[in-house]
């Protein structure tokens, strides 16, 4: 069974600061996902990383993937309050005709303090 570990689980940071969330996974995969979830809401897809060395950026968030290290990072630049949410990483099995499973980390609860 593929395991996905995120750290930290809880993150409180001041506005304007930078920080990185880490996502480690246990077996080879080149399909890594980042999601955002606001309290009481569903999950919103942020990034889909499909190859080693992939880097994607959207606003103050940048995600990268190192498949050899089995590590993905979500970097937050100059945090603002609107980024407060829970962030999940997930790893997908390779696609097949009979479907594929996705495995989620436990999430990082981010609070940005003014």
């Amino acid at each position: 069974e593929l395991k996905v570990e995120q750290n930290p689980l809880f993150l409180s940071m001041q506005e304007g600061k930078n920080y990185t969330i880490y996502c480690n996974y246990s077996t080879t995969s080149d399909r890594l996902y980042w999601y955002r979830q606001d309290p009481g809401k569903s999950l919103e897809s942020l990034f889909v990383l499909l190859s080693n060395g992939a880097v994607k950026q959207e606003g103050r968030l940048m995600a990268s993937l190192d498949t050899k290290a089995r590590l993905s990072t979500l970097h937050i630049t100059a945090a603002v309050h609107d980024l407060s949410a829970t962030y999940f990483c997930a790893v997908g099995e390779p696609p097949s005709n009979t479907g594929n499973q996705f495995y989620f980390g436990t999430g990082t609860s981010l609070t940005v303090i003014p």
Partner: protein
Amino acid sequence: DAGITQSPRHKVTETGTPVTLRCHQTENHRYMYWYRQDPGHGLRLIHYSYGVKDTDKGEVSDGYSVSRSKTEDFLLTLESATSSQTSVYFCAISAGLIQETQYFGPGTRLLVL
């Protein structure tokens, strides 16, 4: 939102009663998934479907069954609900050329008393 709806959105039921949750999609996606979300566990896959009448188990399938008789509907049934099945249930579909992206429904909050 990839045209995904879930019903009911909230349900309170008693231990031992059967419960069926419905996921409906409007865009003819082949792959559909049921997850449960619990504090400290993230999302865990219950069952998934790769076509009409084609389903398979995920990592936490005990106590759950699913059915998919038509492309647009994926049903999750708790045959005899237990308090440990109190959770938020999310349906998802995967889309894209290589099924690379998952989109989630709004969720169903289930409380088993």
